[in-house]
């Protein structure tokens, strides 16, 4: 394994009295796609926000090493409503020819034709594609995505999966995708980690054939395994709340 782009050791985060992360260790390799599963309240978003250095309100300890160049995709597209699509993509973009690079990034998400639109003129899925273009145009070494498709309808979500998969292969950042959707995790990730009560309780490799396609038999077994870890068996939640 090459030098990891993310290295987390003994990460603890607390909000006032409640412990949210209780000692998390996690490595993500260059170009590796990791899905982070967990029930709501398990600390998934807290871990992502810690990696993105957005958790100023939390106290805690532990070691975090992340690349300087990282991008975040939030659950809401978080486009600035007063900037046209292209200007949203170039926001904070350093380096030469920001407009040309932003247009190329919009082209990758098939929205080059909407560069001059206002965000409100786009559908939810289109807005999220712009957010993806904004994240990838800076060629990050790490892409953090916090349930980026949670607010989209099922059909749009499937198309976004394919898009994210393709673009993450082209740009090859390390990816940490926070999700509560087991199928989404299996379809996209090289590795699936499960967070429960502030600790990683599983680290499983997604079954792939030689060309990277999901192996159906392995996927079904992994899905059963993950659902059991998340406290769901035969579609019934067994864990007491």
């Amino acid at each position: 394994m090459t030098e990891p782009v993310v290295r987390v050791r003994g990460l603890v985060r607390r909000f006032t009295l409640r412990g949210v992360l209780n000692g998390v260790d996690l490595d993500i390799a260059q170009g590796e796609f990791v899905a982070l599963l967990g029930r709501s309240g398990s600390g998934k978003s807290t871990l992502l926000r810690a990696l993105a250095d957005l958790d100023h309100e939390a106290s805690g300890s532990g070691e975090i090493v992340v690349p300087r160049l990282l991008s975040v995709v939030f659950q809401d597209a978080r486009l600035l409503p007063w900037k046209r699509v292209l200007d949203n993509v170039t926001l904070g973009l350093a380096g030469p020819n920001p407009r040309e690079r932003a247009l190329a990034a919009l082209d990758e998400v098939e929205l080059a034709g909407r560069a001059g639109s206002w965000p409100y003129e786009l559908s939810g899925g289109e807005q999220q594609r712009v957010a993806l273009a904004r994240s990838l145009v800076r060629e990050p070494a790490l892409l953090l995505a916090d349930e980026p498709f949670g607010a989209l309808d099922a059909l749009t979500r499937i198309r976004m999966h394919a898009l994210l998969k393709r673009l993450s292969e082209i740009h090859n950042p390390g990816v940490l995708l926070v999700t509560h959707d087991v199928d989404e995790a299996i379809a996209l990730a090289d590795r699936v980690v499960v967070l429960e009560a502030g600790r990683l309780i599983a680290d499983l490799r997604a079954p792939r054939d030689r060309v990277g396609r999901v192996d159906p038999a392995g996927a079904a077994s992994l899905k059963r395994q993950l659902l059991a870890l998340l406290g769901v068996t035969d579609g019934v939640a067994t864990a007491a709340v």
């Binding site: 993105a52 250095d53 957005l54 990282l70 991008s71 975040v72 939030f74 809401d76 978080r78 600035l80 409503p81 007063w82 900037k83 926001l91 904070g92 973009l93 350093a94 206002w118 965000p119 409100y120 003129e121 904004r134 800076r138």
Partner: protein
């Protein structure tokens, strides 16, 4: 057949039970509702419908005056007022006084907007600035600006400086309050975004804070315009020697109620025109908001 059922429905008669499930009937009813507007809404909108009330008032006023029911010393007839207005325009009185009033209001307005925005920026963008200025403005806000007039007269005399100062204060407060609230109310979501894309402090202010606070500033502008006219009316009653207020005051001395009416109409037109100007500015500056695009 369809038309028949529609007619039956409209006349309010009972319809046979199985007709309710006729899809053609359902379609017909739907089309009807869409054309007429909402059944439980206030009714169909008509273009320029808002002119009905003013029209009725003028009709009532004209009829009353023509029938001799309204004493012309209390309220002169519309045509007398119109003739007076024409007279005042022809001898240049109205324009001269209007120009004086407009310059006065514009000067006070410009100072008020400038100072309001400046202080709001200082106090909205820095914590220290907020501690220095915000408490002061909140205290000032508790005192009606017009209550400051005696003090302002002692400081600046009863000349033009006093008048402009009072108008500027009336504009300053709403501009400051709205702009400051908007600057401080920037959604933390956008702050997070700015941090993750690595915006510098200056770029954050330029690309996120200022455009995000623009709607608040424009709301302040709306209140500020109102404040300017209100203050103008009051200060022009105070020992003025020119201006619309002076014209009205003088007319009161000579019991010329028609001249007073002309002055009031001018105030109304000024208020409406400046409000329309703010609306135009909003439509131009806030094209990114859905509400103005439709």
């Amino acid at each position: 057949m369809n038309a028949l059922i529609g007619a039956t429905l409209e006349s309010g008669e009972e319809i046979p039970g199985d007709a309710v499930f006729d899809t053609r009937l359902l379609q017909h009813v739907t089309a009807d509702v869409a054309r007429r507007g909402r059944r439980l809404g206030p009714g169909e909108a008509v273009r320029y419908g808002w002119l009905l009330g003013p029209f009725l008032l003028i009709l009532f006023w004209s009829t009353g005056s023509a029938a001799g029911l309204i004493d012309p010393r209390v309220l002169p007839a519309p045509w007398t007022t119109a003739a007076t207005a024409w007279e005042l325009i022809r001898d240049g009185h109205l324009q001269d006084n209007l120009a004086v009033s407009a310059v006065r209001a514009a000067e006070g307005f410009a100072w008020g907007v400038g100072a309001g925005v400046l202080v709001a920026l200082i106090s909205g963008l820095s914590q220290l600035g907020g501690y220095v200025f915000d408490g002061l403005v909140q205290i000032k806000r508790a005192i009606p600006t017009l209550a400051l007039i005696p003090l302002v007269i002692l400081w600046f005399g009863i000349g033009e400086t006093m008048k402009v100062t009072v108008i500027a204060f009336s504009v300053f407060v709403p501009i400051y309050i709205q702009t400051h609230a908007a600057l401080r109310g920037i959604d933390v979501k956008y702050l997070e975004l700015a941090e993750t894309v690595g915006l510098s402090r200056w770029a954050f202010i330029r690309d996120v804070v200022l455009p995000g606070a623009l709607p608040g500033f424009l709301t302040g502008l709306r209140f500020g315009v109102l404040g300017a006219w209100l203050a103008l009316v009051v200060v022009e009653q105070l020992n003025a020697t020119s201006g619309i207020g002076y014209m009205i005051n003088l007319a009161r001395t000579y019991a010329q109620s028609d001249v007073i009416l002309v002055g009031l109409v001018v105030y109304a037109l000024l208020g409406l025109a400046s409000n329309a100007a703010v609306s135009l500015a909003e439509a131009r500056l806030l094209t990114w908001r859905r509400t103005f695009a439709q």
